[in-house]
């Protein structure tokens, strides 16, 4: 081994190095993810359980001859009430899982003690958060794929639309959903009681965004509030794409607000991160758990 008297650093700063560091975070996260085998079970069970609750409730309420369903179809315009419900519940689960996975990504590392050792390196710090998002999106895509598959097989739910349009809606939702996750991830590092926000946010999505019903049945004030939640547009747009064969033009009224909220939440997420980083350097929060 080389022994020079003043060691010369092997590091080579530069954009390429920062990209490689980012990819290393992605790879690390993926490797660790695959080493917890329980996710496979979760992947097959969870997509069924949560929507089932609503589907069974819907069945019970629709009466023995299912006459109630006619009313539901009339108010929602949906022909397939199961498909209608699973779009809503899937969006809710997506946001919920992102809040836990991405939201607690840094917090978990803080508790394990590895956050500080990452922070010690000269890597762009937002990479640590951004890098965890890659594997999360992949696992989420699997989750949504399994949902579609399971309900297709078990309940005969069929898409009546262009899968690419559904994909487009989901893609457009990524900035908003993950931006919120970033903001949240930064908050839980310094504000220990931030868990409450998860319950607040998912509660709001559950009630305001119409996960199992059309927003139109809400009182006026709730409807105007729903306009401020990006998930409302995502659910509406996905239903249109999946069951009414909507094209890009019909989806624009949902796509545009969704992307605008996405930009907004990404910026909020990034600045919350910067704020947290600064604050942590003052209070020492990174090293506490």
């Amino acid at each position: 081994m080389e022994t020079s008297l003043i060691p010369r650093s092997l590091g080579q700063p530069g954009l390429l190095s920062d990209i490689r560091a980012f990819l290393a975070v992605v790879r690390r996260e993926w490797t660790i993810f695959t080493r917890y085998p329980s996710w496979i079970i979760a992947l097959f069970i969870w997509p069924l359980i949560f929507p089932m609750m609503y589907i069974l409730t819907a069945r019970a309420l629709s009466g023995p001859d299912e006459s109630g369903l006619a009313v539901f179809i009339a108010t929602t315009g949906a022909t397939d009430y199961i498909g209608y419900i699973i779009v809503g519940t899937t969006v809710w689960m997506w946001q919920n899982i992102v809040l836990w996975d991405v939201g607690f990504a840094l917090r978990n590392e803080q508790m394990r003690g590895t956050l500080e050792s990452n922070w010690l390196s000269p890597t762009w710090r937002f990479s640590y958060l951004l890098g965890q998002t890659g594997p999360q999106i992949v696992s989420m895509a699997m989750f949504i794929g399994v949902t579609a598959l399971e309900f297709g097989i078990l309940f005969g739910v069929r898409l009546n639309g262009n899968p690419w349009m559904i994909g487009l809606m989901m893609l457009a939702a990524i900035p908003a959903i993950y931006g919120l996750g970033f903001a949240f991830a930064s908050l839980v590092i310094t504000v220990k009681e931030a868990n409450t926000f998860v319950f607040l946010i998912r509660g709001m999505v559950m009630i305001f965004c119409g996960i199992t019903f059309p927003v139109a049945i809400l009182p006026a004030w709730m409807q105007s509030f729903a306009k401020w939640l990006p998930q409302t547009y995502l659910i509406h747009g996905m239903r249109a794409a999946a069951f009414s064969n909507a094209g890009v033009n019909e989806l624009l009224p949902d796509l545009i607000p969704l992307l605008s909220f996405g930009g907004f939440w990404l910026i909020v997420g990034y600045f919350t991160f910067l704020w947290m980083e600064r604050r942590a350097r003052k209070t020492g929060a990174i090293g506490q758990y």
Partner: protein, 360 residues
């Protein structure tokens, strides 16, 4: 390039006081000379409607000055809660000082934080600083990328360090299956990855068995020979004594003495240390002994055994003290079991400086 590897000037770190929980320091809160629970100056009046109490602060480090030469091993020695880790955390840019400045490898720790990070290899909280769900090798490859080492160089460097840290046989096993000593070696390999000129080691031998601790101390000595500057913290006297070129003794956030190990010991060279093992020790005996002109810095420790005490004191002339000592001890069921007269160690220097023992 600056003359010093590490240079700190009047570093101060105040934390917001923790409400309720108080310190994580297990010893009872001693009234500090200053700082402790001191109220901040308070925000401007016009913010009052927001109802923000002026924040109470806790001073963990209060005015530390250090200058570490290139190629030197500098030991920061102090009891729990003295501010060792806080000082290291400021130097490695995890914490921003409340006031004061510091340069590492010539770079300002606040304004040139990334250059500081490139110059440093830091070991904090040893085994907790690596990923247990990754193998030793995966850990090192991951951190090599974070330290911006080009892949081809990184591969060689990781192999080299795995070999050197004697991890070769198990490099492809998950870290969760390693022993504490092996994890610590991975953590140190991680700090060495980018071959940084300066190493900061926070209690590197904490929790290691004696053999592993000895090996690690040998490694640290070798690293110095290879040209690394090393700042290490410890609350083991022997470790600081054996490894360090110079030692700073830190207590309640201040450096109270800074010298070579020999220089520190010379300060109380003319003194002798009398160590006693006593059963049935009474506090009043201590007071009586301290009243003697020749005796100072008496410290009594209850031992694990029922009523055995270890008592040590510094005496200017043991010959005149001994008769008086025997006389006052063999009374009221107090019994002398063992006695030694020894040369001062660093521990005694610490007691001399602070009037309290380093470890409780």
């Amino acid at each position: 390039m600056s003359q010093f590897a590490v240079e700190a000037h009047q570093l101060v770190k105040k934390f917001p006081a923790r409400p309720g929980t108080g310190d994580k320091n297990p010893s009872p809160p001693s009234p500090l000379p200053e700082g402790e629970g001191r109220r901040g100056e308070g925000k401007k009046k016009r913010w009052q409607f927001w109802k923000k109490e002026p924040k109470a602060t806790f001073t963990a480090v209060s005015g530390v000055d250090i200058q570490i030469q290139r190629g030197e091993i500098f030991g920061l020695l102090g009891p729990n809660g003295a501010g060792k880790s806080t000082t290291i955390r400021m130097l490695c840019t995890l914490l921003e000082p409340t006031s004061g400045t510091a340069h590492v490898n010539g770079y300002d720790i606040v304004r040139q934080a990334n250059d500081v990070r490139r110059s440093l290899g830091t070991v904090l909280a040893g085994e907790r600083s690596i990923y247990w769900k990754l193998t030793g090798r995966e850990n090192l490859e991951y951190f090599a990328a974070l330290y911006h080492i080009p892949p081809a160089v990184a591969k060689k460097r990781v192999d080299e360090l795995i070999e050197r840290m004697e991890l070769k046989d198990r490099a492809n096993e998950l870290v969760e299956k390693y022993s504490t000593g092996m994890r610590q070696r991975v953590a140190i390999a991680k700090a060495l990855l980018a071959r940084p000129p300066i190493l900061l080691l926070d209690e590197p031998t904490l929790g290691l068995d004696p053999q592993a601790a000895r090996n690690l101390r040998e490694l640290i000595a070798t690293l110095k020979q290879e040209g690394h500057t090393i700042l290490l913290t410890t609350h083991y006297m022997e470790e600081a004594d054996q490894l360090s070129d110079r030692i700073g003794i830190i207590d309640t956030g201040r450096i109270i003495a800074l010298d070579t190990p020999e220089g520190l010991k010379r300060r109380i060279e003319q003194k002798e240390i009398i160590r006693l093992e006593v059963s049935g020790w009474q506090a009043y005996i201590g007071e009586k002994l301290l009243a003697l002109q020749e005796v100072e810095n008496l410290v009594a420790h209850r031992q694990a055994e029922a009523d055995m005490w270890e008592v040590s004191m510094q005496a200017t002339d043991s010959r005149t003290v001994l008769p008086k000592l025997m006389e006052s001890i063999s009374q009221n069921g107090t019994r002398l079991v063992n006695m030694n007269i020894v040369k001062p160690s660093l521990e005694d220097v610490f007691i001399h400086l602070t009037g309290k023992a380093l470890r409780d």
